[in-house]
């Protein structure tokens, strides 16, 4: 791609670094911004910058947050004895969108997969264990994708929690949603949250 302006070129290259955005799409977006009012683009840029600089991760559940503790954790109307364990922030958003869940979350930041270089130490598992030990958690609901690595992660955390007597359940997996949690429609997700099942020693396929 040949550019007559290096300002344009730089901006296109920045956009093209975003996931799912190729050079052509980047050019389209940048040309769109060029046509916009300068003030609008300034606000766009500032919003993005402010988001990145001020965003925090909740010290309690690792969810994305404006403050040290996220709005879900600091909401006294929510049931704090219930913790839904998810892989990432997109899963929190997906489950919140169902408007059917009134407990809290814990974001692991991934699942255990040594093949991908992810062991328990790379995840927010320690924090979860501490949380269960300190807080009055009565039920852990695992909402992980139905994969072998998901199972490994559940069993591992379950093992780590063994001395504590809490309920460990998993949302109805495999049947309720085919594949990724974030792509499940809200109805299905809400249903599988309601129909959660206790984690047996082993999940049967």
């Amino acid at each position: 791609m040949q550019f007559s302006s290096s300002l344009l070129e730089d901006a296109v290259n920045e956009f093209a670094r975003l996931p799912g955005i190729g050079k052509k799409t980047a050019l389209r977006l940048v040309l769109h911004l060029v046509k916009q009012d300068a003030a609008l683009v300034q606000s766009f840029g500032e919003t993005v910058l402010k988001m990145r600089q001020e965003i925090k991760f909740c010290q309690r559940c690792c969810n994305i947050s404006d403050a040290d503790v996220c709005s879900i954790c600091s909401n006294s109307m929510r049931r704090h004895e219930m913790v839904c364990v998810v892989e990432n922030i997109r899963d929190v958003i997906a489950i919140e969108s169902t408007q059917q869940y009134n407990g809290t979350y814990h974001v692991l930041g991934g699942i255990i997969s040594p093949l991908d270089g992810v062991g328990p130490d790379q995840l927010n598992i320690e924090l979860l264990i501490n949380r269960v030990q300190k807080e009055n958690v009565q039920e852990l609901i695992f909402a992980l994708n139905p994969t072998i690595q998901g199972d490994t992660t559940i069993y591992y955390i379950q093992k780590k929690l063994q001395p504590h007597s809490i309920n460990i359940t998993t949302i109805a997996r495999g049947i309720a949603f085919g594949g990724e949690l974030e792509y499940a429609d809200e109805m299905t997700l809400a249903r599988s949250l309601q129909n959660r099942v206790p984690v047996e020693r082993f999940v049967n396929y």
Binding site: I112, Y155, F202
Partner: protein
């Protein structure tokens, strides 16, 4: 109950830019000189049953040289119902498999729907080479009979990769916390024990069949024995993994489990591969494959599709005749047979006296 493939159309599959074949008979002979695409045609049929090639793991190898994708479409018939099976390799390298227009989310769900047995010249490796080929033989049969077996086998293999990768990531003696290893052991034991039990009862059933077929094909009274070798005969899976944990940590891989299973083959009480002649090997190969056929037939209630590649090269006349009459006359399944000599295949099929179709490439 009959399973039949009525036609197949190939686009950019191996040496076929575009070609349609209609199969009008239960017995189909395919003749043509070497390199004309006989084996490739059988492999295309195999694709429709297994969603993959009999010969290579990489789908892209099967696209016509100079192209990146292919399409195989087949019309099948089972139990009086028609099925359209389509396998597409897209230019992007993505593979799709559809049955009656519905794409499978998991290809493994298709396995076993159209059972199929392939006998190819190189299969004799199963007898002469390492244990992997023999495990593959058992797995191919059990996977077609039991979807749970296939699912657990895939799980087991994934778990094994994860466990091995984990063993590599913890350097020796530095493992303070064994929790994750224990989790992997439990998961492996769970799937592995199921696989072991299935393989064990499979081998019990298989033994009688193999000796029977061997006698029929070779015409000789030799004593063939098959023994299922597995570390799990002595210890249950969890104990086994516990007993090898130190070694596993030291060697950084999982040294025990059903991935080490084997079938030991004995001829008159001696290791078959050391003492068997060419002819005896071939007889045994056919005996094993026909046992596969028979096992699938009896459990499914209908005969699998049988793909016989270059079998005339492999057996002498009388053995060949015994074999052919069994597969063609004593069974009602569909059979594809290839040969380089049109006259030879014609004569064989004529003497059987059954209806057949001959395709010349």
């Amino acid at each position: 109950m009959l399973l039949l493939i009525n036609s197949i159309s190939l686009v950019q599959f191996k040496n076929y830019p575009q070609r349609n074949f209609s199969f009008s008979s239960r017995i189909v002979g395919i003749s043509g000189p070497n390199g004309t695409g006989k084996t490739n045609l059988l492999d295309a049929i195999y694709y429709l049953c297994f969603t993959k090639s009999y010969f290579t793991r990489s789908d892209s190898f099967n696209a016509l040289t100079g192209t990146n994708g292919f399409r195989i479409e087949g019309q099948l018939e089972h139990n009086g119902e028609n099925y359209k099976a389509v396998c597409i390799l897209r230019e992007t390298g993505k593979k799709e498999f559809m049955l009656n227009g519905n794409a499978y989310e998991r290809f493994s769900h298709h396995i076993g729907r159209f059972p199929c047995v392939f006998i190819a010249p190189d299969d004799v490796r199963m007898i002469t080479e390492g244990s992997e080929e023999r495990r593959r033989f058992i797995d191919a049969i059990l996977s077609q009979l039991d979807p749970e077996y296939l699912q657990r086998l895939m799980n087991y293999n994934k778990l094994l990769l994860q466990r091995n990768s984990y063993l590599k990531s913890v350097s020796e003696n530095r493992l303070k916390d064994t929790s994750l290893l224990e989790v992997y052991d439990e998961q492996l034991s769970n799937d592995g024990s199921y696989i072991f039990e299935k393989r064990k009862s499979f081998m019990d059933e298989c033994l009688g069949l193999v000796t029977g077929f061997y006698g029929k094909i070779s015409g000789a009274a030799e004593n063939i024995e098959l023994k299922y070798e597995s570390q799990l005969h002595k210890l249950d899976f969890a104990e086994l993994l516990k007993s090898t944990r130190d070694r596993d940590l030291y060697l950084q891989r999982t040294t025990a489990g059903i991935h080490k299973d084997d079938i030991q083959i004995l001829l008159n009480n001696q290791p078959f591969r050391n003492i068997a002649s060419q002819g005896q090997r071939k007889s045994l190969l056919f005996a094993l494959k026909l046992s596969e056929f028979e096992m699938l037939r009896s459990h499914k209630g209908f005969a699998p599709i049988l793909l016989l590649d270059d079998v005339f090269e492999k057996l002498d006349e009388s053995r060949m005749h015994n074999l052919l009459s069994w597969v063609c006359l004593d069974n009602d399944g569909q059979i594809f047979i290839t040969d380089t000599h049109q006259q030879r295949i014609k004569e064989h099929l004529e003497t059987l006296g059954a209806l057949y179709q001959l395709i010349e490439l």
